[in-house]
Symmetry: D2
Subunit: 228 residues, 4 copies
């Protein structure tokens, strides 16, 4: 006799979030906060400037840095296919509208996360930077759908589903994903095209969303789907 699991019980009250098709003109790729300040190098620079020992800093940042670089490479692959196939692309970035912190989100102001227009490490990471004509949306808070007009723009475009990549899995990507699902978008998170500071939290927040309000897939799987 088959053992009953908690998962079995849950499946009697909720079914898994269904798969959905990726369609040109209806599905948009949203790249979240793929900016230079997310790179390990930026953390090293800041930590050393604050007086920490560079060698020690490089050691503890190493694993994170590798995961970020891998995510960038994967996002770059997804972006490449989306461009070739004519899927809409939106680049979301952290950036204040002015240098005045009062103009930026309270939540990030309170933790000192302010990205003024001229901030040197605020640029897009080279591998995934926007092409002319691609949408760029700036935000100063976490989720890309609050504190911006992204939802409005997506409605203008008749977009109904999103592919999410970028940083950080358990912060801005998470907030964007939950909000998008709540608004009615089908959401697909490319699990190896995003990451965060802790591998455990990355895995946990993806698991929390998986088949509940989002689909979670690998770059390989998404590239295959996009190539239809």
């Amino acid at each position: 006799m088959k053992e009953v699991t908690f998962e079995d019980v849950i499946r009697t009250v909720e079914s898994p979030y269904p798969d959905f098709e990726l369609r040109k003109g209806k599905t948009a790729l949203v790249l979240i906060d793929m900016q230079r300040f997310v790179l390990g190098e930026h953390l090293v620079k800041a930590a050393v400037k604050a007086g920490l020992d560079e060698h020690a800093v490089r050691e503890v940042v190493k694993d994170y840095d590798e995961r970020v670089k891998r995510a960038v490479k994967n996002a770059q692959r997804v972006l490449g296919v989306c461009r070739r196939k004519g899927f809409d692309v939106v680049h979301v970035r952290m950036q204040g509208p002015t240098d005045n912190p009062r103009h930026t989100a309270k939540v990030n102001r309170k933790i000192g996360l302010i990205v003024p227009p001229q901030f040197e490490d605020g640029d897009f990471i080279d591998e995934v930077k926007p092409l002319p004509g691609e949408l760029v949306v700036t935000k100063t808070n976490g989720g890309a759908l609050s504190g911006t007009n992204l939802d409005f723009i997506l409605r203008n475009m008749d977009i109904d589903s999103l592919i999410l990549v970028g940083f950080l899995t358990d912060q801005c990507v998470l907030a964007t994903s939950l909000h998008a699902a709540d608004l009615g978008y089908d959401v697909l998170i490319v699990e190896d095209a995003c990451t965060t500071r802790s591998k455990i939290l990355h895995d946990a927040v993806l698991l929390a969303q998986k088949d509940v309000c989002a689909k979670i897939k690998t770059t390989d799987e998404v590239v295959r789907l996009l190539q239809g």
Copy 2:
């Protein structure tokens, strides 16, 4: 010589979210989805109805059920103090505006999570049910701040900070918390007055938010703060 941790490095680019005061007329308690269908008993009923063995179901639901009951007791304590001290209280519940699934959130429709007005297990859990005159906000999606006019009502009231309790930590509570922080509310999650299906995910999503965009405290701590 002190060892450098990844946390030390992060602290050179972001400071911890600051503590904030709980103030009558400015801070509201928001109870999320504290409805009968969250109780273990509801899961047992549904699973047995679906043909699963009752004894086996009770076994696998037991731990969850105990965590839910503990969270209810803790939420009841926080609610009691808020009422005595005159803090504003909002009860958020899952409930469709009509029996028509088209009127409800796409995300939950897709997983079969529909709560019609007359759904028998949709009632508030007795220990934390609203008193006459307390605000009740209904929703059909996850986060209490999307798909509702809760933000509007809170603005009408000049509320700028929220205490969150309820269910599920990694779904509706999480979505509400992230969105609230993004909108500029100070957010305090009462960690033992909410829970979810997996203890690991409960811990993980609270850790992801802790001192980044929310404060996480125990019922004991919150009760002490409320009693000022």
Copy 3:
């Protein structure tokens, strides 16, 4: 030689808002604030209670009262056809979530326009009251798309166009219409199924919107379109 008008000049920079089709499942009828307190009788009651002379009050209210009654009759016709043809219907009403004015919109609180749940003249006008299963959305401010989750519900339903009737043309109907157009809905206002206190302002605000961000049609025209 044809004379050049200002209108001709405008037409060289903007074309008239195009006609759009009314389609079952895509177009919803929204009835705005069709409640008893809008009727002339309610004004008479309030004015007499405040010490004004009843006969004199009836005189000055008479024209308004007749326009309201005509609008109700016309809205009733449109509603009847929508129901028979299976178009979605939403009844929007003014009503506070509780008796507490703090829970209601600041704008209307400031002018003393508060409609508590039990307010006797807050009921829907008989001719156009909701049938069981029809959507009812409550609001405490002006526009039906701010301070409510109406936009969210319409998105859940995949509605992309609205037929507007109700009160007052230059306040709640106007605010709803402008906001709806801004959000991307095609908007059709049934000019003789709404009215306001001043016939001149009714005409003016319809003219301001006509072919700019909304279509303006008569009940006869709309009934014909609905009957396809």
Copy 4:
């Protein structure tokens, strides 16, 4: 015996919107669509290009052009005082995020009103153009509070009241004003620092809002209040 007016009757159910104080740090000046394409000269250019007779066009545009120029002068005065007194200033402009019409508001796309980033007459009118560090918010639809993150930015700044100037009184200014009031902002429209194509419609939509959901004052009055 004093005659009873309809206005007297209305005053028994609603009181006039109360005056409010203009306060540095709490009140922001919002300039709406003060761009070159609003000037009469732009209309003349477009009309002549479309084949209309220049002399005839200048004749019919003359009155509008004078009203626009007067409004610009008055807005400039208000702006000057706001800057000297340290009031926050927001410049709202029509401008697409890219050249792609799909990225812009449906409502304006349908009437052909599209303002690409490089549109020559999309620049701010010289007299009221932003200083470095002043907020600039772009929109592609009508109301400045829908389809933008202006409300979010104002909340970040703790702004609770708005002074509105700009174009057109019965379109973007109107939509902004109604939405702002609905969201809870105190709204003051500077009647002679905005205008529209028809003087009659300008007067009518201001009258519709006056003391209902906004205060209407002249430049002289507002300058006096600001100089407090």
